[in-house]
Every structure is written in C-alpha cells, then in structure tokens.
C-alpha cells in the first residue's frame, strides 16, 4: 500500500549563534531521517526532549521549512507545490498540540475557534458553520452550549477536546498529535486517548503520534519510530520493537520507564550522562557516549539504518547484540 506520508532524507538545521564573535553554528535538529506513515495507521514517534521529534512533526506538515529532503503527502512533494496548492492540501493535514492552554486564543469564543478553518477553506453560511461547530463538539464529547464560552472556562481535558475538534473541522486524513496527553492528568489523559482512537475509527484518520512515553505509544501506535539526537535509531512494529529492541537506546528507554511495581521490588536501570549537544553531536553513532555496547568503530563510522527483520530496522552496528529487555543488567545503577 502506498504511504500517506513519506519523509525522505529530511534534515533540519536551526541557526545557533555560538561564540562571542557571532561565528555561525547549527543545531542539528533532524539529520537525514526517512520514514513513512501508512493510511489508517498510527505511527508513534518517541524520544526524549531534544531528539527532534517535534521538529519532525512540524516539518511533516511544512509548518517548519526543512533544510533539505522531501516530504510527500498523497504522493505529491509538498515542497514543490505552489502556495495555493499547498494551502488547499493543508486541509487534509492537521495538528493537535501538547498544551491545551497555549494553543487556544484566550480572546476567542469556542465558536470562533472552530469556525476559523471554515472561513479559510470553505464558503458556508453562518448557520451552516454554526451547525458544523455543534456537530464537532458533539463528536469530541462536549456539550453544544460550550460554543459561547471562552477557553479559560474549561478544564485541561476539555480544552484538549476543543483542540481536537478544531483539528477535525475540515475532515482531514492525517493528524500530527504532538504529546496530546502529556500535560493532562492520568485519568483525563486516558479519556483523550480513547477519544483519539474512536475518532480514528469513525473518520478513517491516520496519526503521527509524538510522545516521550513508551507506554502511551505502545497503547496507541501499531508502529513506532525511536529518535535520538536528530537521528532515527530504530523503527518497526510496536510490540516487536518493545519485546525485542534492536537499538541500545530503545532498550535504555524501556528499562528507564518506571512501571507500577506491585511486588514492592525496586529497580533503577539507566545509563549515566545526558543528551549531548545538538550543535556538536558526537562523531559516528550519536548514542555512543551513553551506550554500554559502544566500541571503537562507533566513534568512527556512522551506523546506517539497517533492516533486520521485516519492517524492523535499527541504526546500530551491533544491533544483533542488544540484550533482551528482560535482561536489563546492561544498564545497572
């Protein structure tokens, strides 16, 4: 099946002013990432802050202009579209943001927030727009009388529902959801995840779901891509990647994730050190400074993304040696 979205060799460098003489440097936010999102699926994009996952999501919608690379949506290269064509394309590609407090204009009533996409993309009468807005609210589980309220009158979970309704307004095919439940409490986050899954069924949606949380991604995504310092570390079917990680960074994320312990047994597994600078990333493999498997070769030679099992690839020279998750002793504390 043709992918709905295909990102090819995407690179995004942001200028960083470094040094007292204004010598120019670049933040390597994304370096040479290629990935696909298939119609109807949820691709989970995981990584820590600074991994480049948010930038990748924004590049996928061309909200941020890539430095190089290509972005195909429905087999058309978005970077070659004329302005008008791109704008018409945008109705099919929407975004849900992390912070439901920052992503809604506090001076706009819900009716105005939801009507804005219709003003831009459709010619509808006032009453038609109002009817569509009511319908949107109903679909995200809010009452119709919310239309005349301002964002501050809602809780975080309700605001996130408004943000979802706005993203749904033009019946998009593809939605980038950037940490949509990270700012919410657990009980409310579960409601939002269920809503996103219901809407996916009802509206035949495709999601690029960006999250720092492996448990959340495991629940919602059929495939997962793991990023580290601007590079794709590993990608594959979610259950397979989590059961048999082929990149030491994926394993590190797995063993660091605090699971609910019902036995009173405690384990802290992690690697020392922190994410290196994205202005001067390490030579060779970017993860080698924290990697227990790192050897000479890792500092010299950058590992390419290799396919190791059907649909499962890893960018590690020693992918075959990555221990199973059940043997986390490689990351003792």
């Amino acid at each position: 099946m043709e992918p709905l979205l295909r990102i090819e060799r995407l690179t995004k460098h942001f200028p960083a002013s470094a040094g007292a003489w204004g010598s120019s440097a670049a933040v390597h936010a994304i370096d040479d990432v290629t990935l696909e999102v298939r119609p109807g699926e949820t691709l989970g994009l995981v990584g820590e802050s600074g991994s480049g996952k948010t930038t990748l999501g924004r590049c996928a919608l061309l909200l941020v202009e890539p430095t190089s690379g290509r972005v195909f949506f429905q087999e058309r290269n978005l970077l070659q579209l004329k302005r008008g064509e791109l704008r018409r394309m945008r109705r099919h590609m929407q975004m849900i943001f992390q912070d439901p407090f920052a992503s809604l204009d506090p001076r706009m009533r819900v009716a105005e927030v939801l009507a804005e996409p219709f003003h831009i993309h459709e010619r509808l009468s006032r009453s038609e727009i109002r009817a569509r807005c009511r319908d949107l609210l109903r679909r995200v589980g809010l009452r119709e009388d919310a239309l005349d309220c301002y964002p501050h009158e809602f809780s975080g979970g309700q605001r996130q529902r408004i943000g979802i309704a706005r993203a749904l307004a033009l019946q998009p095919r593809f939605i980038v959801a950037d940490e949509p439940v990270s700012a919410l409490d657990v009980s409310v986050g579960a409601q939002i995840i269920n809503l996103l899954q219901d809407l996916q069924q009802q509206c035949n949606l495709t999601y690029l779901f960006i999250s720092h949380s492996l448990p959340v991604v495991r629940h919602i995504a059929s495939r997962v891509a793991v990023m580290y310092l601007g590079k794709l570390a590993e990608a594959g079917p979610t259950e397979e990647v989590l059961r048999r990680p082929m990149h030491p960074y994926t394993l590190l994320l797995l063993v660091s994730t605090p699971e609910i312990s019902r036995s009173g047994r405690r384990e802290f597994h992690t690697a020392p050190g922190e994410l290196p600078s994205a202005v001067h990333p390490p030579s060779g493999c970017r993860f080698r400074t924290r990697c227990p498997l790192a050897r000479q070769r890792c500092a010299v030679e950058e590992p390419p993304l290799r396919q190791l099992a059907p649909g499962h690839s890893s960018a590690c020279h020693f992918a075959e040696e990555v221990p199973s998750r059940l043997n986390p002793a490689v990351f003792p504390m």
Partner: protein
C-alpha cells in the same frame, strides 16, 4: 514502621479567592517515619503540594492553615510547626527539613554560582564560615554525583543541563544534613533516563544518610518504585494510605484502582481501550456533600452522597475512605 519523625494531624488549609473560601486540604493526617519514604500521589489540584508547603508554612498569602498540627519529633517530644514563631521555624527550614521542587530553573538563582547557592544554607544557619561552606558544597556535589564538581562549582545554573540542575537543588537541600526532605514532583520535568538517575540518587541518599523523604508525584509508577508507604489524595482529602506494596497490589479505594487501570503500561496485555475514569475532577468550590469521588465512582451507592466517609482499615496499616471497600479476604 520506623519511629515517627513528622506527624501531620487533621491539617486543614483554606484558600481565600474571588470564588470564595476553597478547602484545598481537609483533615489530612500523615506520619513519616525516620528514614522512611512516603509517597503522596494524586492529580493536579488534589492538595498534595499544598500539604507539603504547609509543613514549612510556605503557603501563598491567600492561604491559611485553619486547623491541624504538624509535629516534628525532637528528643522524644514533638514541636508543632504550625504554631511555631516564624523566627524558630526559620531555623528548621533547610536545616532539619528541606525541600526540592519540580522546576530547578525557577528554584535556582540565575545570577549566583551554583557552589555559592549550595553553601548558602550553611552560612544562613550559622553552621560554618565561607571557606568551610565551599568545601562542604564541593563535598555535597560529589555526594549527589555531579561529575567534574571542581569546575561545576563555579558555574551558573544556565550552564547546566536539567538533570544537573536538579542535582544542584538536591545538594542545596542536603548540605545541612536534614532528617526530612520534601520532594515536590522532583522528576516530572525530566526525561525518563534522567528521571531514573535522580530516583536512584534519592534512594541512595536515604540509605546513606537515613534521610526521610516526602515524595510527591502524580506518577504512580515512580511512586511505586521509590516509596515505602503511599498516601493517595483526591479533592483535598486522603482517600487511601498504606504500605506501597499493598496499595498498588490491592487498592482499597475505587479512585486508586481507577488510576491504576487508566495508566497505559509496558508490561500488561495490550488493551483495545484504556479504562478511563469518566467525568471531571470536581471543583473545590462545588464539592459534593458526600464522598468527593462519588459522581465518578463505579461502585457508588445512595449512601455515598450522604456524608464524607471515614477512613476505615482495609488491612494491617492500610486505610481507605470508602464505605464500599470490601474487607480483605472476602
């Protein structure tokens, strides 16, 4: 349980707001033993941070401790911090009880070298002179595993990563060798790999110094990994408390059970749907007359909306504020 170090009895805190007087914390009683880690969990607005801030009376000006005692044990007797004159309380803050916060960047002084910030508490409490304070700061930075401490001691907070800043804050809270450290969401702003480092550090400090911790978090996984005992708050009240193992293995309050089921996990069987707790958290301005969780509770009965349930013992040392709680082994 270990000998009690801090005992909170019947703490009630009210906030004076434009919407009226809000009961942020109601009738909260907690005990922390010496060298014990007590986890305080709950969702935003449940009163867990207000409870913590009340201990050292660091509440905002519109808040008032309306009732209750905060007894800090001292040579067999308890001093009530809620009644202590400000001057005396100051000798306890940072010395016997210290505190760390979620956001190290906002809790640290941006224009002061981290070494000076770490040593400041020693000087403020008159425990040492400048030169010794610097040596102690360096030593404490090593205790919290800050690499390259000799160089870092002269740096400013913005030159450090989030994980190192959190270590600096822990060093500040540790330097006077307190008996209790209050940690309010200390790992929430950190990535999981750094979070695991900080949790391991805190657990290690308890072992080494017999430090007791009041560990506040919304993250049940984190609390289950670090706490000996756990207390769950909902809408200003403690709804369940007990040994961490008991509470997580056999929750005795429907809210705790609901939270545990709502969180996605790595270990369980994949599920098609998450069992969310339906409905919103009630506003403190409009709390229902009975159990605050009743409107969202799957086990609710007519009598739940009559009066606030008392805490009842569900098992040894395991208490729940639910009239529907099944007695253990039935």
């Amino acid at each position: 349980m270990a000998l009690p170090l801090l005992e909170i009895r019947g703490l009630t805190v009210q906030f004076y707001t434009a919407r009226g007087v809000l009961p942020a914390v109601q009738d909260v009683s907690l005990t922390i033993g010496q060298g014990e880690i007590l986890g305080l969990v709950g969702e935003s607005g449940c009163g867990k941070s207000v409870t913590a801030l009340s201990i050292l009376r660091l509440l905002p000006p519109n808040a008032r401790i309306a009732a209750g005692q905060v007894l800090l044990s001292e040579n067999g007797s308890g001093r009530d911090l809620a009644q202590l004159p400000e001057q005396e309380l100051r000798s306890i803050r940072g010395a016997r009880i210290s505190m760390i916060f979620q956001e190290p960047m906002t809790a640290l002084n941006p224009v002061m070298r981290v070494g000076d910030q770490i040593g400041e508490a020693l000087l403020a409490h008159g425990l040492s002179h400048q030169r010794e304070a610097r040596a102690a700061a360096l030593d404490t930075m090593r205790q919290v595993a800050i690499p390259d401490a000799e160089r870092r001691i002269r740096q400013y907070p913005h030159q450090l990563s989030g994980g190192l800043r959190q270590r600096v804050m822990i060093a500040m809270a540790l330097i006077c060798r307190p008996s209790l450290m209050i940690a309010d969401e200390p790992t929430t702003a950190l990535d999981v790999t750094i979070q695991a480092q900080i949790l391991a550090l805190l657990a290690g400090l308890r072992e080494r110094f017999g430090l007791a911790l009041l560990f506040i978090s919304h993250d049940l996984g984190v609390v289950s990994q670090i706490a000996d005992r756990v207390a769950v708050m909902y809408a200003g009240r403690i709804v369940e408390h007990g040994p961490a193992r008991e509470v997580f293995a056999a929750p005795a309050h429907p809210y705790t059970g609901g939270l545990l089921r709502a969180a996605p996990s790595l270990g369980s069987e994949p599920r098609r749907r998450l069992s969310a707790i339906e409905g919103p958290v009630p506003s403190l301005a409009e709390l229902p007359p009975g159990c605050a969780f009743e409107p969202r509770c799957e086990l609710r009965a007519p009598e739940c909306s009559v009066a606030v349930p008392e805490l009842i013992e569900a098992g040894p040392g395991h208490w729940t504020r639910c009239i529907r709680a099944a007695p253990r082994n039935s």
